[in-house]
Symmetry: C2
Subunit: 474 residues, 2 copies
Amino acid sequence: MNLKDRELLQDFLDLMVAYIQNNPLENDAVVNYYNYQALEKKFDTNINTQGLSEKDLLATVEAYLQYAVRTIHPQFFGKSYGAYTVPSLMGEILSAVTNTSIATYVGAPSATVLENALIQKMAGLVGFQNGDGIFLTGGTQANLVALLCARNKVLPLVKQKGLQQNNLVFFISDQAHYSFISAANILGIGIDNLVRVPANKQGQMNVVALEQAIVTALNQGKMPFFVAATSGTTVLGAFDPIDKIAAVTSKYNLWLHVDAAYGGSFLLSDRCQSWFDGSELADSFAWDAHKLMGIPLPCSVILTKNKGVLYEGCTTCDVSKASSYIFHEYDEAAYDLGKKSLQCTRKVHVLKLWLAWKYYGDHGYGQRMDRLLELAEYAEKQIRTLHNLELVFPRISVNICFRYRSPLVTDLDSFNRRLRNHLIQQGKPFLNYSTFRDQGFLRINMINPDCCERDIDDALETIITEAKAQEESS
Amino acid sequence: MNLKDRELLQDFLDLMVAYIQNNPLENDAVVNYYNYQALEKKFDTNINTQGLSEKDLLATVEAYLQYAVRTIHPQFFGKSYGAYTVPSLMGEILSAVTNTSIATYVGAPSATVLENALIQKMAGLVGFQNGDGIFLTGGTQANLVALLCARNKVLPLVKQKGLQQNNLVFFISDQAHYSFISAANILGIGIDNLVRVPANKQGQMNVVALEQAIVTALNQGKMPFFVAATSGTTVLGAFDPIDKIAAVTSKYNLWLHVDAAYGGSFLLSDRCQSWFDGSELADSFAWDAHKLMGIPLPCSVILTKNKGVLYEGCTTCDVSKASSYIFHEYDEAAYDLGKKSLQCTRKVHVLKLWLAWKYYGDHGYGQRMDRLLELAEYAEKQIRTLHNLELVFPRISVNICFRYRSPLVTDLDSFNRRLRNHLIQQGKPFLNYSTFRDQGFLRINMINPDCCERDIDDALETIITEAKAQEESS
């Protein structure tokens, strides 16, 4: 590295440390929000023939920091990711600095060893004693891989011959993530062949309705093959009863997948074990560490109860010479993880989770999860007591669904939707807006254990103040 | 950030700077290679109830560095990624430090502006005047998305109804990347419905054979719909004649995709423009910046000639309430990039390319590409002159295919394969082993402009020395 590069890197790292350390400064906006056209003017989006000086490059970095959403702000409540810990950030930087691709053992030996170790650890927590798994690009890909493996198992000729006379059908709850709809498109199953089983009032899949839907499909000559339970629904944070669903999938011999992308991390809390009753009966399990474990995104795994499942579903390596440039005969070939991955080049994601988990230990992570629940409980309690705020659903895990209400507001849905946008545009608390059974509301995702009770109080007070101002101005 | 975390981060960053700065030290191994069982013992792969001290955590980081492949070593020749530049590393760290997901404008406003700007820049270089595109997880996903968009265009009912009476067939060269085989599996098309058109002696798709294959498929009642040209084949670094292939796809009304994951970066060199003749006629174009542009992986785009194509192929957002928690009605909703992505959570990849390109400018990148070609030319020339080394194919771009040969070696393929493994295990030059038309050979990918002529000479000398020793010991 030449001297100029070295100084550039050092100046940049100083900027990063200062940003993390000072974030947020007192009264910092969660985001300095501008609309698209205004924001475009804040950057010189052209790339010139000649490059920038180091100084101008660092100015570009500073501009980016100035207008980026501060996801480590304690009032960033709107998403399931955000606040990351220092050891996990270290892991992400270490992955970039070493810049290896984890397709073959020879290409990334240390990463292969660590990935296998962590997959075994996580599979064990799910209850898969002899499980398998792989790190991938997100919960969406994890759900896709699960559905692909299930499809190829029930129709073993599809990999070679393609889908013929497709009468496949699969089942999710109407609270499941939209990635399943995407997977129905990608895999050629078709969105119409995805049955969305109604959830009960608590946001859990109605298991009686599930069995009815399966029977109906069978009577229509369709081929049910896959059911996804959700552990931590996106909107309400609800947990489907895996054991009861497993009784149905077992009866009809269907693949049981658990989408625990959001809620899987609660496996680390002793208090929450019952939410996963029956997880050991699943065939596959998706878990995003970049959500509640405070890992820079993405950091996701798909876990399978049985070995060989991912290889059967995903690999196309052995059918062609096309991959012979990468997969060779050599002593460690059996450890080449790329053979059970949909990706060829695959960044090393395990490091960020590995370093964080090593540093905090199981105990530290248990405490983290319990603290998040405690904060969510506190927010729920405060909302119940505050005038003009209304809890829309009883809290289940770390999602708090509530809204502003007043006799002066007639259309509560659109008022709260506009309120959410207004708050973001003012750099105030960053919430989400969601719907359940056609009712709209604000939503807090309590994902940052560095948020404290005072931040919650401040945020709720700001929401009420801004809502009242909106009310008056409308 | 508390004081302990601050010190930990600072110590870690010092370690990273020292690693990059000192890499490689004189005579450093490219990799300290151990087999799986031996390497496992170098790490404590258990996670304990209580966590590690800061000191032990840093020791874990140091162990990782010690046993990771040094992809920035000038004798790391085996892969298409590796050496990254300081500005690109900055971009990757900036993405982790801000940790936003680029699904909606409101979630990542600055990143959305920059991604659109860079997509327009790259599309323009391909010749797409009014193009579109998106950053995704790698060339494999880019090829999948292209095939998905093409499938859904030719069979518009598939997204809803699924594949029925599938008689689809598509065409790639026998030198194309294995991601197309994977995509045939995922998309339900079936591997048997992928026709691998033979390459000519220069590794380019035989266009006459392509047309014959299409006619044959039509005569069999199949439905041809997609052809992929490759710009930069994995093994030989060959460039398919896009314009000639476009004449065929136009005649039969097929989707033309260009897989330029590897070679796309040569668009930045004035010398190489003819390699892309006809690229403006393609429907889609895949380009990995993490290969030859020195960006930490992954950094890939899919570009499309027409707007709306990605949305049509990929989106499932508007068909269901399932995504209403993320995609809302608001002023900037039209800029929500997640609606044309297969991913929900999507890390910001544009920053690493953005910062590097801004810093070096078009001119700097042109120089980079020309320097890589110059180094490849030098390596080719040296191999031609060195005794016991044999160039197996004339060099096309930055792949140099050669082997050790001597009268004493009878099975050249297996000797060279073992030689490659031996070199890696000794920490010597990291090469790949590949095959073309059943002949095996060593392969250099010249991807690091910080490699110099002396590194090449050293590497070739080492290869010969080690080969002779192997020869004697066998």
